[in-house]
């Protein structure tokens, strides 16, 4: 039973190679709403299983989780398809849930951490759907010069990516800070691993963004998102920041 629980947890809070199940499913899902729902719901069974497990997380699982996070973070560096990138970042960030449970053993912190990544990822999935609607794909190289052509969409994409890669005031920043602070004394190598993963996210995020946003405008001009939709995203980002502040109060 224990082994089955661990395998299930390894699927929903993905450990390599079990993360391939989520990524395969995510890449085959084309509907934006379904993708967002998947990003929000997929890790929850994993959170529940880890929270109810009587024994703590062994160091072996901790190392495995860090390896998975690092592997997917590293692979994301060269990804040029926004959809694939979202999947890799989700896999990389959720696997850190094992580390959080290993160093804090607080189910509430685990749930907050998973949501800290799922929420901006879901938002980003919606924005990527806007890109795909216009360019028929969200692939760097096919899409470029978005900052010139659709400035409102570009700003929303930038903020969403910043939220995903754990930039300040967004929940992921405080969640990562809390995990590093808790890991540093108990498992110092895990703390170093965590900050390496964080660096890889920044590298991949900035690389992908600048390949899509920068450059001359493509031949065919597409419409930008409307002011109303842009306003809605601004509201959602403000809510995300408020969630971040709440995360800081609870986790730090």
């Amino acid at each position: 039973m224990q082994a089955l629980n661990l395998i299930l947890a390894g699927i929903f809070l993905p450990l390599f190679p079990l993360g391939m199940i989520f990524n395969g499913l995510f890449q085959h899902t084309r509907n934006a709403w379904l993708r967002a729902a998947l990003l929000l719901l997929w890790p929850l069974p994993g959170v529940w299983i880890l929270s109810t497990m009587p024994a703590g997380i062994s160091n072996g699982f901790l190392i495995w989780a860090l390896f998975s996070a690092m592997l997917y973070g590293f692979r994301a560096v060269v990804v040029r398809d926004f959809g694939v990138w979202i999947g890799f970042l989700a896999t990389s960030s959720w696997s850190l849930g094992w580390v959080t449970m290993g160093v804090t053993a607080k189910p509430h912190d685990l749930l907050l951490q998973v949501l800290a990544f799922s929420l901006p990822l879901a938002l980003l999935a919606m924005l990527v759907a806007e890109l795909e609607r216009r360019y028929e794909s969200a692939y760097a190289g096919v899409v470029s010069g978005v900052a010139q052509a659709q400035p409102r969409l570009a700003v929303a994409l930038v903020v969403a990516v910043l939220a995903v890669i754990g930039s300040p005031l967004f929940p992921a920043f405080f969640s990562m800070l809390s995990t590093v602070a808790n890991a540093v004394n108990r498992v110092p190598t895990a703390a170093v691993g965590l900050i390496t993963v964080w660096l890889l996210w920044s590298w991949s995020g900035a690389r992908l963004l600048q390949e899509m946003l920068v450059g001359p405008v493509a031949g065919v001009r597409h419409r930008d998102i409307s002011r109303t939709i842009a306003g809605l995203y601004v509201l959602l980002f403000i809510l995300l920041v408020i969630t971040g502040l709440y995360t800081a109060e609870v986790m730090l």
Binding site: Q148, P168, W203, A206, R207, Q210, V214, A248, L252
Partner: protein, 558 residues
């Protein structure tokens, strides 16, 4: 009244939002809004500094229960004024400079956000606020440097900056985590208080906490202040708008010196970290200066000049002259900002007229045409070596009779002495009708500079670190074994004196034109490729990217 610091920080953020909201309005109105807010920020920052001068002390204001602590002290008020002043100059310059650029409101909005974040960084009273501001500076700089969204090179170099800054964020984060675990608080005041009570605490693997945290803080400072091996972003980040270059070189890059000063209560308890800070600073100063001399692009040359200056600033921290580093960063900020803002004008003017003045000074400097058959070389050599030393000793004696007991002061004296000697040597080689007059002018100028530097530096010392015991503790932490120090002093002095004497002697007897030695050519090639550091990084990142592609192919991109 000290709560005014909250307004100083908040105003640029409010201005950033309003400026962005006014994006559809005429450009003049957008600029007016942003500039007016920066003026008010500057005035409030000046009042703040005046308050700190009239009633020294530390006051803290909390915006949240665990973090969001704003610290009012001598360092934060001084740095706030410096940032507000540089930001104001950059704002005023940008009003016309950016007038033709698309995204005018976005530019001013980003500039305001950067100003606010920098103000928050220098006033942070807890580690979380400091980390937030420290991290945000990197993000905002990325978007300021890549302001022109059509330019791929601008973003390429902005990315170098971003990734180096991220590398620097992470050690600071680890340092913060270690301090929090050791002292149970994020507040800097609480941590420093508990640290002075129990400075001998140990951390992971039984290592001394202060040494580990000190080293991590120093690495964060190196990345921010472009120290050797973490410097490649600085000279290449010139593709951004000129006002951004000015702001970066005059303000942002100085953050390393500020950070070391902020953690001064920690560094006084370290024993080895400051020596490494000195070595890294020294290496950066030498490499930066050498690379600056070989550039043929004015902006890149300024970039490497900044690197050299940052090396000197970090080196000052390494010898324990913390407050002098703050004075240095302010002085450097003012003159480098001016140079950047006038660089465009110089380039424009040079297109119309080469501007080569027909005077002997220019011929001497550019054509390197020294005078022959000068006055008795031995007398001049003795003057060159003794006069600067006498002026420096006198200046330091004026501020502290026991200065010779501080190793840091002696190291800085050395640098001053070499600079003064170089100045006199240059004057000796110049064509002039009245050598005595020239020398008098050189010596008077040198005296004014040295006295000014020493007295103002001492003023900063007293203002930033009023506790004399604490000042002495910093110098002690930076000191090395007396015997080793004396041996090094004698050795370096002997090398320098021998070098100068040899140079004077060869000058006196006329230098023979020799074929350039292949070793020199090799060295020049090395410099022209900037020691292959950026080539190495590019090669490494390409290898990593190739490996990531290979992994993705093997794993079928899932």
């Amino acid at each position: 009244m000290q709560q005014l610091i909250l307004l100083v920080i908040a105003l640029p953020f409010v201005s950033a939002i309003l400026t962005q909201l006014m994006a559809g309005h005429p450009r003049r109105r957008v600029a007016l809004m942003s500039v007016a807010a920066t003026w008010v920020t500057f005035l409030f920052a000046a009042v703040n500094l005046w308050l700190a001068l009239s009633a020294p002390g530390v006051h803290e204001y909390s915006l949240s229960s665990t973090w969001g602590l704003i610290r009012f002290d001598s360092l934060s008020t001084l740095m706030c004024l410096v940032i507000a002043a540089i930001s104001l100059i950059v704002h005023l310059y940008s009003v016309r400079y950016m007038a033709e650029e698309p995204g005018y409101a976005r530019f001013f909005s980003l500039l305001d956000l950067m100003t606010g974040t920098l103000l928050l960084m220098v006033s942070a009273g807890d580690l979380i606020t400091l980390l937030i501001a420290w991290h945000l500076v990197g993000i905002l700089l990325y978007f300021l440097l890549g302001f022109d969204t059509r330019s791929r090179p601008a973003y390429r170099y902005a990315f170098w900056t971003w990734i180096t800054y991220r590398l620097g964020d992470l050690p600071l984060l680890l340092a913060a985590a270690l301090l929090y675990q050791a002292y149970g608080s994020w507040s800097l005041s609480v941590i420093f208080q508990r640290l002075s009570d129990t400075p001998d605490m140990q951390t992971v693997m039984g290592l001394p906490l202060v040494e580990v945290v000190g080293a991590l803080v120093a690495i964060a400072a190196y990345a921010r202040s472009a120290q050797f091996l973490l410097h490649t972003w600085l000279p290449y980040s010139m593709s951004g708008p000129t006002p951004v270059s000015a702001l970066m070189h005059a303000g942002i890059v100085n953050a390393g010196g500020f950070l070391i000063n902020r953690f001064a209560p920690l560094f006084v308890h370290t024993s080895g970290v400051l020596h490494w800070v000195f070595i890294v600073g020294l290496a950066t100063a030498v490499f930066g200066s050498v690379l600056m001399l070989t550039q043929n692009d004015i902006k890149k040359s300024l970039g490497y000049s900044t690197m050299g200056q940052m090396g000197f600033m970090i080196m000052e921290c390494g010898v324990g002259a913390f407050s002098l580093a703050i004075y240095h960063l302010i002085a450097h900020g003012v003159f480098k900002g001016t140079l950047f803002l006038s660089a465009g004008g110089v380039i424009n003017a040079a297109r119309k007229d080469d501007g080569v003045p027909k005077d002997p000074l220019y011929n001497f400097v550019v054509e390197k045409n020294p005078a022959r058959n000068r006055k008795p070389w031995l007398l001049m050599a003795a003057m060159t070596l003794l006069v600067p030393a006498a002026i420096l000793l006198l200046a330091h004696w004026l501020v502290a009779e026991d200065f010779y007991q501080k190793q840091g002061a002696i190291v800085l004296l050395f640098f001053g002495w070499v600079t003064g000697a170089q100045l006199l040597f240059t004057a000796y080689r110049m064509h002039t009708d009245n050598l005595a007059r020239l020398f008098t002018l050189v010596i008077v100028s040198f005296s004014v500079v040295v006295l000014g530097y020493t007295l103002i530096g001492h003023g900063f010392d007293v203002f930033l670190y009023p506790d004399e015991t604490f000042r002495a503790q910093i110098y002690t932490a930076a000191g090395i074994d007396v015997i080793w120090f004396d041996v090094l002093v004698v050795l370096v002095t002997a090398i320098i004196v021998a070098g100068w004497m040899h140079t004077y002697y060869s000058e006196r007897n006329g230098r023979r034109k020799q074929r350039t030695h292949p070793l020199w050519l090799g060295f020049y090639a090395l410099i022209s490729r900037e020691f292959y550091v950026s080539d190495l990084y590019t090669w490494m990142s390409r290898r990593l990217e190739r490996l990531a592609v290979q992994l993705n192919v093997w794993l079928r991109w899932v």
